[in-house]
């Protein structure tokens, strides 16, 4: 009986749906988090009677066929890369991107990763680093005893050196764009790596050529909306229950058949 297996694909899909939703809810307060959603497609059909088949030699065709579908499959968990709201923190090294682009981070193995999480710190040598201590690209070193750290919309970092009254530029934080940012691969720690699907990284400067601008002392909140996640969760749970009911109904039918043997 195919219904049993069809319902099983439905249960598996809803289980994955709940996993995706629960990950969104768990990351509701994660800086720079972008929500995911599960995308489903129907499985292949068995065309028992093909629609449009010749019904007679007079050229009449079947107006409807018998198509039995095999259930559902998950085609992907695309990420919704919409802008999150900005929250003011008052911290000098917190930067939010308003618009397109990612911060570029150099990992200890020399490779580059990308993030929307701009909660940066200074390490022991004065370099601007992310929460894991990996330097933001291009590497910027804040001189010791400097004050008045300011980051403008283009990402230029200026400080006032001791004994000076005019600010000095110490570097410019760059941004990186991807033609398909939803194709980036998440690796945890709010970081993404580029993939063949995302396209090659395009480095650029904030507030120029369609790159977003930088907002100092702000952080980008997750773009998860509690209301829609909860309603999705309820819908997923009900769908799971219904598929379970189909399994028990199909089981009941099989039972009544096997009861014929005595």
């Amino acid at each position: 009986m195919r219904a049993l297996y069809t319902a099983a694909t439905g249960m598996a899909a809803q289980e994955l749906n709940v996993q995706v939703i629960s990950n969104n809810i768990a990351n509701m307060r994660t800086t720079g988090y972008k929500k995911q959603r599960a995308a489903f497609q129907d499985l292949i059909y068995d065309h028992v009677r093909r629609v449009g088949a010749q019904a007679s030699d007079q050229g009449t065709v079947l107006p409807v066929g018998v198509d039995i579908g095999g259930g559902v499959k998950t085609v992907g968990t695309p990420r919704l890369m919409s802008q999150g709201t900005l929250a003011q923190t008052g911290n000098d090294l917190d930067i939010a991107i308003r618009g397109e682009g990612f911060f570029k981070i150099q990992m200890p193995d020399g490779t580059f990763t990308y993030t929307r999480d701009g909660s940066f710190q200074m390490d022991a040598t004065g370099r601007v680093v992310n929460a894991q201590g990996n330097p933001v690209q291009p590497t910027i070193t804040i001189p010791q005893n400097s004050s008045g750290l300011a980051i403008n919309a283009q990402g230029q970092v200026t400080v006032t050196l001791p004994g000076s009254t005019t600010p000095t530029t110490v570097g410019q934080i760059g941004l990186t764009r991807f033609i398909n940012k939803a194709g980036l691969q998440p690796i945890g720690d709010n970081l993404f790596t580029d993939t063949p699907a995302s396209g090659a990284p395009q480095d650029g400067i904030a507030n120029v050529d369609g790159y977003g601008d930088m907002q100092q002392s702000n952080l980008e909140q997750a773009n998860v909306e509690a209301v829609s996640e909860i309603s999705d969760l309820i819908a997923a749970q009900r769908a799971y229950e219904m598929n379970a009911k189909v399994v028990s109904a199909a089981d009941q039918m099989l039972q009544s058949t096997s009861a014929l043997f005595r």
Binding site: R49, P63, D67, G69, G76, G210, V246, M253, S256
Partner: protein, 254 residues
Amino acid sequence: MENTLLVGLSRQMVLERQMDVVANNVANVTTNGYKADKSLFAEYLKSGAHEDNFVGKDRAVSYVLDSGTFKDFSQGPTELTKNPLDVAIDGAGFLVVQTPAGERYTRDGGLQINNQGQLVTAAGDQVLGGSGPIVFQPTDHDVSIAADGNITVLEGINRIDSVRGKLRLVSFAQAQALLKEGSNLYSAGTGTAAQPDIVSKVRQGFVEKSNVNSVAEMSRMIEVTRAYTQISTLLQQQSDLHKTAIEKLADVPA
């Protein structure tokens, strides 16, 4: 004499198929753009015995046959997602998708951009515009899709919209003749040519959910289960009848 058994069997086989259809609808209750299937049945007449064998007229025996599953093309509910690449179609139109096997049609508007900047479905097939695939430039942002399917973007620092193409919407005079291919795609068979659709409207930031009515599917499921069990009981009684007949008739008094 075996008619009950065979008629019952024909009914049960059809009910199993109907259950498969219900199961597929329920499994796709969260599939975007999915259209529910409904089962149709037909009577299949077969004369039981030759007319000469009986004094009265022999009656034909009706078997049941599933004659078709028709697709319910009613509009599914639309959900606001705020994703600029989500489109819901308001009307009878379909998006045109280029697959390796040729042009296919879909109502699933959860679209993406691939690594070449082309507008694609979640499965990676190109979504076609009026003149081939729709391609975005690396510096494009703020994608806007108008109700007529016209796609405009802001490129780089431009403040004036650049047109990137227009979604091709098609409809069919006989949508029932479309063949479900799986992966949310439909293919057009012979005699069902796609016609340009200028009536349907595109809604950006929405997706069309599955139009499966879960309450109706659950009641249909119960109906199918009950009918199936009833036939089983009928077959059981018929079998008992045979058993009793054999026992009684073959009972040779000592």
